[in-house]
């Protein structure tokens, strides 16, 4: 009697384990397979049955890093992402704080407008940006991309930081004020240092968004300001895709995002709720 119950209980658990295992394989196998592909020669890539154990070659990584312009595209991605993160924090963080402190008409309308624009597909902005950037000579410049990314980063900064500031105890700010701190001083020396976690999480999340961005980078750059993700697509454009090279490029682009995402895992759910979706 007891034994039967024991087996039934365990069957349920085993079922869950199998389900979790299947989930893990479904999620991880594609990425692992891409990683293996980056270490295979073109011949090995097409062998049947597919190879799991083989002598890896780092030829593709060498080709991508040394022989192609990939390093430049990688640093373009870095500069554009860091630049846009810095600008959006400088503009967005004081604004997020002011939204908490300031009372004025249409305040809630402006906040909803911020979120509503974030929800639109990126494609909505691409054509007008392309046309006006051509006029302003911002096409194929890193500055152009940095500005374009502000459209999506500013709402994220305002929303997530607004959430962090809302939890901030007013008593501390009042204490600072009594001690004679100006609004600017209390913000700079009291509020900001105590919100470091929120700031870092926000910065990393928008960094990843810029790093991953596709359609703006595709349309607004040509050669000089090309980002790493678009460079990978260009590897594929040539006749007879060099799978190993494409995969090696992809692995290089992957590493920073995976690293960052582990760091911000705890804050991701919160940021997602405030509209930080990639799109």
């Amino acid at each position: 009697m007891n034994g039967l119950k024991f087996i039934r209980g365990n069957l349920f658990l085993i079922g869950i384990y199998i389900f979790v295992l299947a989930t893990l394989i479904f999620t991880l196998f594609p990425v692992i397979w891409l990683g293996l592909l980056s270490l295979k020669t073109q011949l090995q890539a097409f062998t049947y049955p597919p190879l799991f154990i083989f002598r890896p070659t780092f030829k593709h990584y060498y080709e991508v890093i040394i022989q192609s312009n990939f390093f430049r595209y990688f640093s373009n991605s870095m500069i554009v992402s860091l630049g846009s993160v810095a600008l959006s924090l400088i503009i967005g963080v004081p604004a997020a704080y002011a939204f908490k402190k300031c009372e004025f008409r249409f305040k809630n309308h402006i906040i909803s407008w911020t979120l509503a624009t974030r929800m639109l597909p990126a494609m909505v902005y691409v054509i007008p940006y392309f046309v006006s950037f051509q006029y302003l000579r911002l096409i194929d410049t890193r500055m152009g991309l940095i500005i374009a990314y502000l459209t999506f980063n500013l709402p994220i900064v305002v929303w997530t930081m607004n959430g962090f500031f809302a939890q901030f105890p007013t008593s501390i700010e009042e204490a600072a004020k009594i001690d004679g701190a100006s609004t600017w001083q209390s913000f700079l020396y009291v509020v900001l240092p105590l919100s470091t976690t929120g700031l870092i999480a926000t910065a990393l999340i928008i960094f990843m968004w810029c790093w991953n961005e596709f359609i703006f980078a595709l349309v607004l750059t040509r050669r000089e300001a090309l980002t790493a993700t678009i460079a990978i697509i260009n590897f594929m454009a040539y006749e007879g895709i060099e799978w190993g090279k494409v995969a090696a490029g992809a692995m290089i682009v992957l590493i920073p995002v995976i690293f960052f995402s582990i760091m911000v895992r705890k804050y991701m759910a919160k940021a997602m709720f405030s509209g930080a979706i990639k799109g």
Binding site: T27, T183, S261
Partner: protein
């Protein structure tokens, strides 16, 4: 009182740069886009920016490729999102216990969501390319001759669908897990004492309690469903025979491959109206639910 007013003024100045810059970045493009949609502007023919009124919209009505892209868009809004919601919910249930192992697994499952969409597309292109030892090899193991996935309309649609499910199910899981962790434990304990089994627990306690969050997640997913543009770009380029051509991809093709900027702008105006209507519909549905 005076100090308060002064303070308000200071904070307003902190707000000002954001309001100006964000206003310029969002309102001007929207107006410019609408204006462009009223011109037959073609990048190859300079000087074709003259105003022609609603001509683009009229020719859209008889453009079968536009209607096709609209259907494909609806397909990719509803089918992947449904699967993502179900899978994400099941994953969240399975990984709910706070054990050491589940924490690591949760982090690993987020990989598809955080990597660049271009690489998601690339990964699945590799898996669906015959001879590269991907899906067709495993199908052969169970003696099924796999098709040339990306070169047939129906199977190409499924391939993009798979990639979309892979990329965004973790998003649903992440948010539902966060919701499940905030559930009141008293309800669960009371139910356990009453001898409720696991299935009943999910059906009558967990599901009703996380329903509001589920609706928000669903809303987010629907609003962002057409964000699979990079997947389509990398995997199929909208083909074969426009089978995977969602409306924003068609707009991209019109504008930057055929150089018909005016027509592309009008397609985007329709896309904008579509997304806006969908958001409006779902938001008011949520508001009615309370």
């Amino acid at each position: 009182m005076k100090i308060k007013a002064r303070e308000q003024r200071i904070y307003f100045f902190w707000l000002l740069p954001f309001l100006i810059i964000f206003g310029v970045l969002t309102i001007i493009p929207a107006l410019l886009n609408f204006y462009l949609s009223l011109t037959p502007w073609n990048l190859i023919r300079p000087g074709s920016q003259k105003f022609v009124g609603l001509c683009n919209y009229i020719s859209m009505a008889s453009d079968s490729r536009f209607w096709n892209s609209l259907w494909v868009s609806f397909y990719y809004i509803f089918i992947p999102v449904t699967i993502q919601m179900i899978l994400g919910f099941l994953w969240a249930l399975a990984l709910r216990p706070r054990l050491k192992g589940t924490q690591v697994i949760r982090t690993l499952l987020l990989i598809p969501m955080v990597i660049p969409p271009v690489i998601v597309g690339l990964t699945w292109k590799v898996l669906f390319t015959p001879n590269l030892g991907g899906i067709n090899y495993y199908l052969k193991m169970i003696s099924i001759q796999g098709p040339d996935w990306l070169n047939r309309p129906f199977t190409a649609q499924i391939a993009v669908l798979m990639a979309a499910v892979w990329e965004w199910s973790p998003f649903v899981m992440l948010l539902l897990l966060a919701a499940m962790e905030n559930l009141p434990s008293e309800a669960m304990e009371a139910a356990t004492i009453d001898g409720v089994n696991k299935l009943q627990m999910v059906r009558f306690i967990v599901l009703p309690l996380i329903k509001p969050v589920m609706i928000i997640v669903l809303l987010f997913r629907i609003m962002d469903a057409l964000g699979i543009l990079p997947l389509v770009f990398v995997m199929t380029k909208g083909g074969p025979a426009s089978a995977t051509e969602i409306i924003n991809f068609y707009a991209y093709m019109s504008g930057f491959v055929y150089y018909k900027i005016g027509y592309a702008a009008s397609l985007i105006t329709v896309l904008f109206a579509l997304v806006f209507a969908l958001n409006w519909y779902f938001l008011s549905a949520v508001a009615k639910q309370g």
